[in-house]
Symmetry: C2
Subunit: 374 residues, 2 copies
């Protein structure tokens, strides 16, 4: 069970509302959310502290805190379209997803909840895939479904939709980049309806009404890999979104599988490069099943996760400590461990200053314990 | 320098003639040739012993020993079409090829001898390659040629000819399965002429007039890999000849490179399988150059070669020893080491009995020190 959220199973309605307000407040991402919960013990206490923390972090403008009415409306509207908001550790939250550093503090779930509890393989790839790539995606997804795996993907054109369609009967998960009522691409509305009425489901961490923008897709990709034992990439050009999913999979300790292709086909440059970097060359379902079977029972630990050594409360940085830590930061990502070493102050102080900067909208957290100034 | 042939550099005409007679005699392959040279010290002495050895091995019919006149005629006819017959260790014999267990005791060489002394990469693949495969073979061969490598291949249709044609200017080697005057396929007569008049050459271990049969091609493939630092396989179906070349490369300690392709294309099943088994995935010349550069200066030792521990002379098996060793053999290959252990006699005796059986046409030698009854 996740130690970041000590009292997650069966949240009270009030607690769920407080947590929703906290994660929907400006400058609060999942990592900040968990830090705040650690420091303040509850979402309610964190919400009360937000303005002061942001001020100490040097905010030019104090970020908006999500109000009670907005959060209540989101919960009610979500329920109306069959979306439940669930926290890590609550029944129904996908177990592997709960293990990643930046698991959504509240995940919007629609469809058959059981699907999210079964062993899952993600299949991703080109939107403009070749006929052979689409056919391979279908066959592979179908065979993995037959073998008892649920298939997760991103509901995109090309490989994604082929993988979903081939597993409507066996179980598939659409991971959305926008809110549950803002489907992208719009022409996949029907596919999504078929998914959630079959033994499938759709998940999103975004509020209802959120129209997905370009930067929401890479962010969403960490959920695709996070859900899964492994990610299969079928046809991906250099610098494609599927490679971002593969990178997340690596950081999260998931297996990475890639389907080879001709060096003459630019749609295969990314997958061939992944294999060169150590991904498992995949030509049939057995390649995947053989690799994940031994790890299915094992919990996954993020190899690059931040050390979980936050003190619960009370670090109170002095003005010169705050200035010293801020001076060490710049636009290039630096590890928190390095900052602690160079600043010569306690880890608790460093973490509190970073939290303040983050809430002031001045800090960006990357994977692997790296941070940079915005 | 090769210890199997202690006096190879600058053979006298008589020695060359004797050696040619020995390798052209029935049931004498390269491995038997070297064993006989070890046991008898010279080709002349081995030739004299052949009938008696075959009789002791239980030959129903004593194999034909190549006569002086035939060997003289082969040397003269070869010279007439520009083919020199060279022994391992003599100037002009490809150095890496000389290192393999079953290097041709006399190699027929035509064209530019220097080509055979430069670092070589073999490129092999499907006869019915795709357009993309042919184009890739051209580009890769050309780029490797530019980087200073000679390209060896089998003069076949498809990938082979594309690799040769792309390297007519930089240097290419055609490795023939038949005699130098029996080109297969016949329509590549012109290509061969272009190769040997460019800075290229053609090699064969077969006598003039020998029309290549099906089993000559896999046997020839060991020379393609043996010449090279590494073998690149471009498009190969399951069970194709190119995979035999890759297997030889492995046994000979050469690098194996394979070009990936779609799992939906049966022409790529073999290459994808090679990558799964550990071949280096190759999409550009740099993949090969980076891998072979560190080993270019190093001599290659066959990882699975027979231990070179033959006593020079005089093992004389008793009748019951001969019968006991023969009884251990069957149609399934067994290792010579196992026979030595099980027979409970000296290695020298076992080797002599195997030599007798071989000359009687009753024994087949496989790679890796394995033998079986025919």
């Amino acid at each position: 069970m996740d130690t970041r959220s000590p009292d997650t199973h069966d949240l009270t309605d009030t607690e769920r509302l407080d947590r929703l307000r906290l994660i929907r407040s400006e400058n609060v991402g999942p990592r900040t959310f968990y830090s705040l919960m650690k420091h303040f013990g509850s979402a309610r206490a964190a919400l009360a502290a937000l303005p002061d923390l942001a001020r100490r972090g040097g905010a030019s403008r104090i970020g908006r805190t999500c109000g009670v009415a907005d959060a209540e409306r989101e919960i009610a509207d979500s329920a109306r379209i069959g979306v439940r908001l669930i926290a890590p550790g609550e029944p129904g939250y996908p177990e592997r997803l709960a293990e990643i550093d930046d698991a959504p503090p509240l995940l919007g779930i629609r469809g058959t909840a059981d699907t999210l509890l079964r062993p899952t393989i993600a299949i991703v790839g080109s939107r403009n895939a070749s006929g052979a790539g689409l056919k391979f995606a279908q066959t592979l997804a179908h065979d993995l479904g037959d073998a008892g795996f649920v298939i997760a993907s991103g509901l995109a054109r090309g490989i994604d939709q082929a993988a979903h369609r081939a597993t409507l009967q066996s179980g598939t998960i659409a991971v959305l980049a926008g809110g549950h009522d803002r489907i992208y691409p719009p022409e996949h509305q029907d596919l999504l309806a078929a998914i959630v009425s079959s033994p499938g489901s759709a998940i999103s961490e975004m509020p209802l009404g959120h129209v997905p923008r370009a930067h929401d897709f890479p962010r969403r990709n960490r959920l695709i890999s996070g859900l899964a034992l492994g990610v299969v990439v079928i046809e991906a050009a250099h610098r494609s979104g599927s490679l971002i999913t593969a990178r997340f999979a690596n950081e999260q300790g998931r297996e990475v599988f890639a389907v080879p292709g001709s060096p003459m086909d630019p749609r295969c440059a990314g997958t061939n490069a992944l294999i060169k970097q150590g991904a498992t060359l995949t030509t049939e379902a057995a390649d995947i099943i053989d690799a994940v079977r031994p790890i299915m029972g094992r919990p996954v630990a993020s190899p690059l996760g931040e050390p979980d050594d936050l003190p619960p409360f009370g670090a109170d940085p002095a003005h010169n400590e705050r200035a010293g830590i801020a001076a060490l930061l710049g636009p290039s990502p630096i590890s928190i461990d390095d900052i602690i070493r160079m600043a010569g102050v306690s880890p608790a102080i460093v973490r509190m200053v970073l939290l303040e900067l983050e809430l002031a909208g001045r800090l960006e957290r990357h994977g692997g314990g790296l941070v940079s100034l915005i």
